[in-house]
């Protein structure tokens, strides 16, 4: 199964949960750290990087002699990365390009070629039977989604995988959850956590991705809005993890409280698998 751990709001505990869940798995597993702007799962897992691979993204370039200045490319670009004015040739803004390939594919004159530019790196590390693949965005490159898509091409569907997603609910989030079978949304009992989780849930509904919720750092406060949302949407609650100063201190030292949470996270993982099977069965 491919299980993605996402949240919407940052700092809810995605890396804590995905990394600890990976350590609790008995057997082979690949953990993808797709929080490419600040990947840190490997640091928590104390695994040494063994190899680094450069990852490139494809961007358009214009073959002047073939272009007739029709401007189709600019009108097709969803990312406003192409400027065109009548009678002139288009101007590409590579820094805005999401490497979707539309302009290259649909140019009527076949005047747009592609060049590859390094967008980041993929680092490989191991810890026991766990393989850790870390995506790291090149400093200065503002676009995470093309790199995440490239890195997730390494997914092997026949094996067990966990994806640690980037925060937010825009393109990088969508790129990271898209190949997943199931998404674990991590939230907290705060209005901010709930607000962003609701947006994430809405996006996952559009993507038709089955998902469940983990409420992290719970103080068992009566937070009606969160409970109402869970009940109204009939969302599976996979687990509630109590707030613990000890855990917060452990994590801020860069250590994972693996033993303490081994059973809890094995159970959350199992519940996620069961919920996935059930929802898949219902949709067949």
């Amino acid at each position: 199964m491919i299980c993605a751990v996402a949240s919407g709001k940052g700092g809810t505990g995605k890396t804590f949960i995905s990394s600890t869940m990976a350590t609790a798995w008995k057997g082979e597993l690949t953990l993808f750290d797709c929080d490419v702007e600040e990947p840190n799962a490997r640091l928590f897992l104390k695994a040494e990087t063994e190899s680094v691979e450069e990852i490139g993204s494809e961007h358009p370039y214009l073959s002047d002699s073939h272009c007739n200045g029709c401007g189709r490319c600019a009108s097709l670009c969803r990312f406003n990365a192409i400027m065109h004015s009548k009678g002139k040739k288009p101007l590409f803004f590579t820094e805005l390009c999401h490497s979707c390939g539309t302009c290259m594919t649909l140019c009527p004159e076949k005047a747009i070629g592609r060049f590859v530019e390094t967008s980041g790196t993929l680092e490989t590390a191991h810890r026991g039977t766990m393989k850790i693949l870390t995506g790291r965005l090149k400093t200065g490159n503002p676009l995470a989604a093309p790199l995440i898509k490239k890195i997730l091409k390494k997914l092997d569907r026949t094996e067990e995988n966990i994806i640690d997603c980037p925060p937010g609910t825009s393109c990088p989030f969508i790129a990271a959850v898209s190949p997943a079978d199931y998404v674990i949304l991590v939230t907290e009992e705060t209005p901010f956590g709930l607000h962003d989780m609701q947006i994430a849930a809405e996006v996952l509904e559009i993507l038709r991705k089955p998902f469940g919720i983990v409420v992290n750092k719970t103080e068992n406060r009566v937070f009606h809005e969160l409970n109402d949302f869970i009940n109204k949407k009939k969302i599976e609650v996979l687990g509630r993890i109590p707030w613990s100063l000890e855990t917060a201190q452990c994590l801020s030292r860069g250590e994972l409280p693996e033993e303490k949470y081994s059973d809890t996270f094995a159970e959350i993982h199992l519940k996620a698998r069961e919920d996935f099977q059930r929802k898949r069965g219902a949709s067949l």
């Binding site: 406003n80 004015s85 002139k88 803004f93």
Partner: protein, 122 residues
């Protein structure tokens, strides 16, 4: 020739919008007929990214050959320059579009030769 002003609500009496890419409207002034019209820039104001470039494309579509705004970032500047649209910037806040036009017509606004802010400056 047509001049476009970034504007808050599209009327000549409205304030000059200091942002170019995220302006909701452009007020257009035709120097020959001396008439005002407006152009909705919503597609750019709501764009997830590349608002300056989308706004530059809207300017081209509106038929304007010069813009008057508060500030202009590097990508919008490059896109407008590629379309040979002249850029005039008035940093002074609180002017109405009409007042900005008078200032321009009296020759008090110099053409910008460089972007004056970074992208996402606000």
């Amino acid at each position: 020739m047509k001049i476009a002003f970034s504007s808050m609500d599209g009327s000549p009496d409205s304030a000059l919008e200091m942002r170019f890419g995220r302006a909701k409207y452009f007020v257009l002034y035709d120097t020959e007929s001396r008439e005002f019209s407006n152009y909705e820039n919503q597609s750019s104001a709501d764009a997830a990214q590349g608002a300056g470039i989308q706004a530059a494309r809207n300017i081209v579509e509106s038929g304007a050959s010069a813009i008057i705004s508060g500030h202009c970032g590097p990508k919008a500047f490059k896109a407008l320059s590629a379309a040979a649209v002249k850029i005039f910037l008035i940093e002074e806040g609180g002017l109405s579009v009409k007042a900005a036009l008078e200032k321009y017509l009296s020759g008090q606004v110099a053409e910008a030769s460089n972007p004056d802010v970074e992208g996402h400056w606000i």
